[in-house]
């Protein structure tokens, strides 16, 4: 196993798929956000120049062009940059990409990948910090992947590119520079299979993307206080591994869901509602959400940390449930 960064793993997946399949195209967007790491992408540029398209600032049209091309089997990866920009293409992603397969009764499919960097990025302020995952999950017909580590980033990106559905790949700029072991060779990680990133018998913490990192940190702290947390990394929201969530809650009887989005109608709401409906009896105590606070994102990095679902808040929530 090689050790590489999240950014490197992501680019490796894209490179492999572009090598394997001449139908994979890449829009030259902001794959790594504004925090550097673009050197990794530069290499793809040289190797696949004729399948790389430099975009104007036209999120809506490009998302729809990727959608139309996908109907003919072209798999376009469109890195939209900051997830906030995706709202400019909301109609095209929800209504065209997300509905075409159903609307055509299965005759056409839309294998496009919309890549975004979401969440609190350190000074992104009010308009550069969106977490669109809950809004997207409310729209049927779209797959959603959210990797938390380099190995998953690679395997999930490969699956996203090969998937015949429109996939929103919700990435995190703060993960880009983090390193981790990545299996050798090519491998896909199927959507819908959560990964138990840590075993524990006392409490279940469900999370995705950067919040898995925070949850693992929290688990260490909790372990010091005698609480063993089980971390369920969802990896994909659509499809969802309900099984993994319920079986972990069945084991621990306690549930914290950590989610970047503001609380109302969030991923955390959904996981809790699912458990309440299908496994209320498993719960020894009421479940708890740890979301971004229900406010906008102030520019200041300290306040940003305060509103975010951070390690401290996870620890606190878990301790309360276990007390």
């Amino acid at each position: 196993m090689a050790v590489m960064t999240h950014a490197e793993a992501l680019v490796e997946a894209i490179r492999e798929c572009m090598d394997e399949d001449p139908n994979v195209a890449l829009v030259w967007g902001s794959l790594m956000g504004v925090g550097g790491n673009n050197e990794h992408v530069e290499h793809i540029k040289e190797d696949f120049a004729d399948r790389i398209f430099h975009p104007p600032i036209s999120e809506a049209a490009i998302a729809a062009i990727a959608t139309g091309a996908a109907m003919d089997g072209v798999r376009t990866i469109f890195p939209m940059g900051t997830a906030s920009f995706m709202f400019r293409a909301w109609d095209q992603i929800i209504h065209e990409a997300g509905e075409a397969h159903y609307m055509s009764n299965g005759a056409v499919s839309v294998p496009a990948v919309f890549h975004v960097v979401h969440g609190l990025r350190g000074g992104g302020s009010v308009q550069h910090s969106q977490s669109p995952q809950s809004m997207l999950w409310n729209a049927p017909g779209i797959e959603i992947a959210m990797p938390s580590c380099p190995a998953d980033a690679k395997g999930l990106m490969r699956t996203a590119i090969k998937s015949n559905n429109p996939t929103v790949f919700i990435d995190y700029q703060k993960l880009n520079k983090r390193s981790g072991e990545v299996p050798d060779g090519t491998y896909d990680i199927p959507f819908g299979v959560a990964d138990i990133k840590r075993q524990g018998a006392d409490i279940t913490i469900v999370a995705a993307s950067l919040q898995v990192v925070h949850s693992l940190e929290a688990a260490e702290v909790l372990s010091g206080e005698g609480i063993e947390a089980e971390i369920v990394d969802l990896r994909s929201l659509v499809p969802l591994d309900e099984e993994a969530i319920l079986s972990s809650v069945g084991k621990t009887g306690r549930l914290v869901v950590v989610d970047e989005a503001p609380p109302r109608c969030s991923v955390a709401s959904e996981v809790i509602a699912t458990v309440a409906e299908k496994g209320m009896d498993l719960l020894k105590v009421p479940p708890v959400r740890v979301n971004r606070l229900p406010v906008h994102v102030p520019a200041n990095v300290a306040l940003e940390d305060f509103i975010g679902p951070n390690t401290d808040r996870i620890v606190e929530a878990a301790k309360q449930l276990c007390s």
């Binding site: 399948r51 729809a64 003919d72 072209v74 065209e96």
Partner: protein
């Protein structure tokens, strides 16, 4: 002048007209819900455009799509079944009037959102370019689409990325019913001239009388050849007099069922819509031209009408006898499986 080609275009136009009359009839009988739009008055454009297309080309349409689907070669049986939301419909009954499409026929998708299909067609051009398929993307859309920014973005992208796409704007605002009379809210551009937008971007642009099948055919065939060769986009504005029955949301058959004999028997024409029958209605106009130019005889015209009327009659029966989808079918095809 290729007589067979022209008669074939006329046949498509006649087929569209009889199809739309059938749709109207079905709606009057409350056989399908919701509001809907007819292509009456624009047949010349749709039929002539599709005449130059090949299987590797891709057409994307709008809420006013029936004529495009028929001319593209979708079987009227399946199109009518779709409008009645039956299992044999082009979309298995799910799309209805708003979404007639058929990947097999080279018309993968129809968006009911104003301007929605314009970038999708550019995407087909993108695919054709990447796959070197030799195909082109064709976007059929209304003049109202120019009010939506995504259409502007798409024109820009098609030029920047050199995509083989033909943008066919069917401008049916000339003669439009006033907004105060419930007319559609189209061509709300201050100059009222949509062609100036792609022109300003430096796109090759053409204007054509969309009610003149021959003119559209010649122009489009020429553009298609060039787009295939150069890979660069082209814009066509087809101006058509709006059919008087084209009200907002619900059409009204104010001009009655089409009588082809009006093409040679002026005495049958009278009343409020005289001008429509004599000058604008593209089916009668083309019938008249075909006869005058010696392309077809009265007999040919009547023969074609009898033929397509029969096609539509049996298509209606087919559609009516096609079952509704099972309720459980709503779960299928939400997500695609593996390839």
């Amino acid at each position: 002048m290729d007589k067979l080609r022209l008669l074939d275009i006329f046949r498509q136009m006649m087929l569209i007209r009889r199809f739309e009359e059938a749709v109207y009839d079905f709606h009057e009988q409350k056989l399908f819900g919701g509001h809907y739009h007819l292509y009456i008055g624009q047949e010349a454009t749709g039929a002539a455009v599709m005449a130059s297309l090949r299987s590797e080309d891709r057409v994307f349409s709008t809420h006013r799509n029936h004529g495009h689907a028929i001319a593209r070669g979708v079987d009227p049986k399946n199109a009518l079944a779709e409008i009645l939301n039956r299992v044999d419909g082009t979309n298995g009954g799910r799309g209805g009037t708003f979404h007639l499409a058929s990947a097999d026929a080279g018309m993968p998708h129809t968006s009911a959102l104003v301007g929605g299909a314009v970038p999708l067609a550019a995407g087909a051009g993108f695919a054709a370019k990447l796959q070197k398929s030799g195909g082109i993307g064709v976007s059929m859309f209304g003049d109202g689409c120019f009010e939506e920014g995504v259409v502007f973005e798409t024109l820009n992208l098609a030029l920047l990325w050199k995509l083989p796409v033909i943008f066919v704007c069917e401008n049916n605002t000339p003669g439009a019913i006033l907004k105060s009379q419930g007319g559609n809210n189209t061509s709300n551009l201050p100059e009222g001239r949509v062609i100036q937008i792609p022109q300003a971007l430096g796109m090759e642009c053409h204007e054509v009388d969309g009610g003149d099948a021959v003119a559209v055919d010649e122009l489009f065939a020429d553009c298609a050849t060039r787009v295939r060769a150069t890979g660069h986009p082209v814009f066509i504005e087809a101006l058509t007099e709006r059919w008087p029955g084209n009200y907002f949301s619900f059409p009204s058959m104010v001009t009655g069922l089409t009588q082809v004999s009006m093409a040679w028997d002026g005495s049958a024409i009278s009343g409020e819509h005289e001008d429509w029958f004599k000058t604008h209605g593209p089916v009668l106009r083309f019938a008249r031209d075909l006869i005058v130019n010696g392309v077809g005889t009265f007999g040919d015209i009547v023969g074609i009408d009898v033929d397509v009327t029969e096609t539509i009659t049996s298509a209606k029966e087919f559609a009516l006898s096609s079952p509704l989808p099972e309720t459980d079918s709503v779960y299928s095809h939400l997500l695609a499986g593996e390839s």
